[in-house]
Amino acid sequence: MTRSTSQAISGAGARPRPGWHFAKPSVIPGFGLTLGFAVTYLTLIVLIPLAGLVLKASSLGFEQFWKIASDQRTVAALTTSFGSSLIAALVNVVFGVLVAWVLVRYSFPGRRLLDAVVDLPFALPTAVAGIALSALYAPNGWIGSLAGHFGFKIAYTPAGIVIALIFVGLPFMVRTVQPVLEELEAEIEEAAATLGANRFQTISRVLLPRLTPAILTGFALAFARAVGEYGSVIFIAANIPYKSEIAPLLIVIRLEEFNQPAAAAIGAVMLVIAFVMLLVINLLQAWSRRRFGNGV
């Protein structure tokens, strides 16, 4: 349907008045009801409670807020959360792109099964993943005992945190890169090959730049998820203050100590980080749409 006919139809019911309109007139009913319900529900469930957190944190006053936020244990927990999330997201960039590549480009027995398994971390509850990973990587577990032979300890160390965060982040990476890879035209690779590029050059200079927005978005999504992750991490981390204590756990600890101001302050810091990540992801997608015409 062309733009003019759609306008003709939607304008058929009520002739649009000149001037500013909140919504474009339409023959479809239910705008007020559905938008009203959606916005009310959103406000009650999400916006007011989040505003409550911001209010609580700001009622502390800057000095006290800063005292909590710059407390050594808080800084250590945030550093642990960010550091391990960063490493996990970087590992997922490498293996996520590899898995997406293999799933899109090659056909082999079990490909469909492998494709379905990618979503396992979305479907498996974090607590289940947490105890399973912990049992697997503990010194007496299947992988833990193997690593022990070589003198490595994974569970109950920061390395365990990274393993758990790789687990929860992997599907974000694969599922962001996969559709973009599927839509790439074979022609550009053929053109590169005709012009004398070898396969490595084609991949690194032709394909990779096209995949960059998707990779960055997948990285941001996996990173954002990892920073806030709780359930799968606390079982495999030893949760030692200053060493392997993540920021969400510190919030829980402060709440259990009935120290609500501290919990609110750390929660507000994490909320701000979440907002920044959301903004970054939106900007990446807008950039990708402008540059390549697809919002990853």
Binding site: Y41, P125, T194, R199, L271, M277
Partner: protein, 302 residues
């Protein structure tokens, strides 16, 4: 083969620089050795990172025999946890379903100012840490909150009680159905609805008989994902539940308690039920994508 246009460039290379003739490889794919190495790495990585943990859940659940397994899930606290988990999902999923349909209807069928901002706000709960999701309700309804006197006067306890668990679960599963339906309904446009309306159908008739059949598979897809998360949510629920055995313990919290008591077989027994749920969800999801891929295609891009 000389007529193959793709083979042409090699003949432009001077003879002395030309590589020794070997098995021809298509210029737009990798050599078999590279290909099988990459497949091998991907399969190995997925097996170690994803499949081994899943296998661990089931082997650990049954390692002490079926007796221990059954005891963990049929003891009163275990049964209470299963009941509460089902109750929470039964409340949270339909509420988010109604919201998802309403939001998608408003966003997909109408043009209005601030639409992009509204979509961002709907996605917001996905970026918030589950622990923060629990925390906001503790601050809002807890003993020190502004609402506490009012809640006490009407004898309604939210924190450390079932209503808080339901609220936290609604928050973390908030976007699932809406973000499944919005791209799907945007892709489908309003043509069918306009036709039905012009033929005299009422608004509700149009929704039930035209829109709903169009979006049913996408809706089911969203409900499946929403339900899996609602039953498995741990962080948000953990903060707000107070961990009262047999009263405010959901299945994930029961897993934590059993695990911390070193009852590993019991913890994995309860965990295996949730892992089964995850497997069933994945299987349904794969079937839906396979059979109704075209009707889900729009949402799969996101």
């Amino acid at each position: 083969m000389a007529s193959d246009p793709l083979a042409a460039p090699t003949s432009l290379v001077p003879a002395r620089n030309r590589p020794a003739p070997k098995r021809r490889v298509s210029p737009t794919t990798e050599r078999p050795a590279v290909k099988y190495t990459l497949i091998g790495i991907a399969v190995l990585f997925m097996a170690v990172i994803l499949l081994l943990p899943l296998l661990t859940v089931f082997t650990q659940a049954l390692v002490k025999g079926p007796g221990v397994f059954m005891k963990a899930i049929t003891e009163p606290d275990g049964l209470a946890a299963i009941r509460l988990t089902l109750l929470v999902a039964v409340i949270a999923v339909p509420l988010n379903l109604v919201f998802g349909v309403a939001a998608a209807w408003a966003i997909a069928k109408f043009e209005f100012h601030g639409k992009a901002f509204l979509i961002t706000l709907i996605d917001l709960p996905f970026s918030v840490s589950p622990v923060v999701a629990g925390l906001i309700y503790v601050l809002l309804f807890g003993a020190n909150s502004m609402l506490a006197p009012f809640l006490n006067s009407i004898n309604l306890q939210i924190v450390f009680a079932v209503p808080g668990i339901v609220l936290a679960t609604i928050f973390v599963t908030f976007p699932f159905i809406a973000r499944e339906l919005i791209p799907l309904m945007q892709d489908q446009g309003s043509g069918d609805e306009e036709a039905a309306l012009s033929l005299g159908a009422s608004g509700w008739q149009t929704f039930w008989r035209v829109t709903l059949p169009n979006i049913r598979w996408g809706l089911l897809y969203g409900v499946l994902l929403c339900n899996a998360r609602a039953m498995g949510e741990f962080g948000a629920v953990s903060v707000i539940s107070g961990h009262i055995r047999g009263v405010t313990n959901t299945m994930p919290l029961q897993i934590e308690i059993l695990y911390n008591e070193y009852n590993f077989a019991g913890a994995f027994a309860v965990a295996s039920l949730l892992a089964l749920l995850a497997l069933v969800t994945l299987i349904f999801k794969t079937i839906l994508e396979f059979r109704f891929g075209a009707e889900l295609a729009a949402s799969k891009r996101h």
